[in-house]
């Protein structure tokens, strides 16, 4: 048996067997920036809180207990379900879901419009979409607040045209939070869908029309399933950050629109100063997000099989 000449080795042969070593930077990166922080958070969530921030290294499930159970003001009553935080979570999921739906309803036609322009104007449209996002999110959210407040331009304009006779109180409502979330995350919906539609082969639509499908049927049975990966990616990219958002709810919403992001933020930065509880809330949020992604991944593999 003749040995293989090293000079004759192809590129893939040179790399073969070195996969582990070549992957090292990736693993280091993931370790430092993903595994370590999550691990730290998991550990903090089962430690004892110190007054005004910080932790004491004593194991306890008090943070999770506080999240789910109500033991009365002095902690000596029989436990009942604590609805406060579950309610905040539920409202956050609902708000984030709604924001995702709105982003999809506006984002899909927008992405479709851009992807069906001629190649040169496409980049112009994409650029226009991204321009506002060069400005800091905080500043954009504050500007939104000025736009929609009772004496802001929107109300002034509506009063001037006579559509309304009293200023609409938009600030501190769910609507304001929705507007903020929608505005903050719309491009995250548009861009992945744009990428999918741009690759879409329009002869598929012609084939569908040729086989007696009207435009609605073609959209439903051909276009949406084919560009689905882009839609799913867009929905995840909008839903996940909306769920943990705290700028829009803080600045545009009031006490009634309190969301997870603000709850967690308050535990670390604000008056509450309860690190283990904040960590526990973050862990629960992470579990929900992972759950959603897992269900999606499952559905994806089943769909391919």
């Amino acid at each position: 048996m003749a040995g293989a000449a090293p000079q004759g080795a192809s590129r893939s042969e040179i790399y073969r067997g070195n996969g582990g070593r070549l992957m090292l930077p990736v693993w280091v990166f993931i370790g430092i920036f993903l595994v370590l922080p999550v691990l730290l958070m998991a550990i903090y969530s089962v430690l004892t809180k110190e007054f005004r921030g910080g932790v004491i290294w004593d194991f306890t499930l008090a943070a999770y207990d506080q999240f789910f159970l109500n033991r009365g003001l002095f902690g000596d009553e029989p436990p009942t379900v604590e609805w406060t935080y579950i309610g905040i979570f539920w409202r956050s999921i609902w708000q984030a879901g709604l924001a995702t739906v709105f982003c999809l309803l506006i984002g899909f036609p927008t992405a479709w419009f851009i992807a069906t322009r001629d190649p040169r104007s496409r980049s112009v449209w994409l650029f226009l979409i991204t321009i506002p996002y060069w400005v800091n999110l905080l500043i954009r959210t504050v500007s939104m607040k000025f736009l929609i407040r009772d004496t802001g331009p929107l109300n002034e304009f509506l009063l001037w045209t006579g559509v309304i006779s009293e200023p609409l109180s938009l600030i501190n409502t769910n609507f304001a939070v929705q507007l903020g979330l929608f505005y903050s995350y719309l491009p995250f919906m548009v861009l992945p869908i744009y990428a999918a539609v741009e690759r879409y082969d329009f002869s598929l639509s012609e084939a569908a029309a040729d086989l007696y499908a009207d435009s609605w049927t073609t959209l439903r049975l051909i276009i949406l399933p084919v560009v689905k990966p882009g839609i799913v990616a867009g929905c995840i990219l909008v839903f996940v950050p909306s769920l943990g958002a705290f700028l829009a709810p803080d600045l545009l919403g009031g006490a009634k629109t309190f969301m997870i992001g603000s709850l967690i933020e308050e535990q670390f930065k604000g008056a509450a100063g309860n690190w283990p509880f904040g960590a526990a809330a973050a862990m629960i949020l992470l579990s929900i997000v992972m759950g959603v992604l897992l269900i999606h991944a499952r559905a994806q593999t089943r769909g391919d099989g």
Binding site: D201, E206, A207, A208, D210, A213, P225
Partner: protein, 357 residues
């Protein structure tokens, strides 16, 4: 009623894209059950015409009638024609069976009937074993047959095929040609087949429409197109030919009296519209017989030869400088003429044809 036997009646169709005109008043009748080919170089308007019949393009002027009914107001999804697309356009997220059943379900078939019919058609294209596969798992030839099955399944009145073989390699293309022709005969559906490949057109078609620059140049059977081309474009595009500039003495009753280069006279068939004066004569290379020098109606010098196995191609030059190609059969007795040899060329009267330019 003769009307009954015409499947597609294309009447003076004009198609403009802004200032560009792709079709200049194209007319043709495509008969029931025939294999009709639109042949021409790229950009000649053949695909545009097919897309007008399918409904993907609106005609600017003129009309297209399907069994006598004007289909201009019908959107593509209401026209009883189906298309085999050049790149197949199979639905990637559906199985082969779902692809084939798609058109049937849209026409209101029940799922069970549609699947039954889809399996029947898959059997016709010999893909029964692949019903559950996804198109991405199939070879190019198999995908091509799925596209054919999908278009045939709803039983269209006319099947439109847009260069369906161009994505296949040569060997496969030749096999599929025979298969496609067989399926056309079995189903009895009129096929409108678009191609730029003249060999494909000659071997498969009942009739061919040769197109160029948005005009129909000639419509006829493969034999008519090859043996009786009307003009220089058709003669040159279909097969090989020698085009000689000749002096036309007179034309009458479809026959012309011609003076060949070198002075010999020839009486040969003339295309409609051929006139006196300077004209072009088409002589197919295989219809010229080499003879000893001095004999025959043309004298030419051998410049080179190409050995093709069954044939030998001689590149020759006439005394006035015009090039001629002659094909002689590779018979055992005949040797290959040396370079520089002067030969006489015999042109049978029926082999040459005066063109209408």
């Amino acid at each position: 009623m003769n009307q009954h036997s015409i499947a597609v009646d294309v009447d003076k169709v004009v198609k403009r894209y802004g200032s560009v005109t792709a079709l200049h008043g194209v007319s043709m009748d495509i008969r029931e059950g025939e294999f009709f080919t639109l042949l021409g170089p790229s950009g000649c308007g053949k695909t545009t015409l097919l897309r007008c019949i399918a409904g993907f393009e609106d005609v600017s002027e003129g009309s297209i009638r399907l069994h006598g009914e004007d289909i201009a107001p019908l959107p593509p999804h209401k026209r009883p024609v189906n298309t085999v697309f050049q790149q197949y356009a199979l639905f990637p997220h559906m199985t082969v069976l779902e692809n084939v059943a798609f058109g049937l379900l849209r026409r209101g078939w029940s799922a069970m009937d549609a699947n039954g019919r889809a399996r029947e058609v898959l059997a016709l294209v010999q893909l029964s074993d692949f019903a559950r596969r996804s198109p991405g798992q199939l070879s190019g030839g198999q995908q091509q047959r799925v596209a054919l099955a999908r278009a045939l399944a709803p039983g269209p009145q006319v099947l439109l095929l847009d260069e369906p073989l161009s994505a296949l390699d040569l060997k496969l293309r030749q096999a599929v040609r025979v298969e496609l022709k067989q399926i056309q005969r079995e189903t009895g559906i009129a096929f409108v087949f678009v191609t730029h490949d003249q060999e494909e057109a000659l071997t498969m078609s009942d009739r061919i429409a040769v197109m160029s620059a948005g005009h129909v140049q000639q419509i006829g059977t493969p034999r008519e197109i090859y043996e009786a081309p009307v003009n220089r474009f058709v003669a040159d595009f279909i097969g090989e030919t020698n085009l000689l500039e000749v002096e036309v003495g007179s034309v009458s009753d479809g026959m012309a009296d011609i003076a060949l280069p070198g002075g010999a006279r020839l009486t040969c068939p003339a295309a409609d519209g051929a006139q006196r004066g300077t004209g072009h004569l088409s002589i197919r290379p295989e219809r010229i017989t080499p003879a000893p020098a001095g004999a025959g109606s043309l004298q030419a010098t051998v410049e080179d030869h190409v050995y093709l196995g069954t044939d030998i191609q001689l590149h020759m030059r006439l005394s006035d400088g015009e090039a001629m190609v002659v094909r002689m059969q590779n018979a055992a007795a005949a040797g290959i003429p040396e370079r520089g040899t002067v030969l006489g060329l015999e042109v049978e009267a029926g082999a040459a044809r005066l063109l209408a330019d």
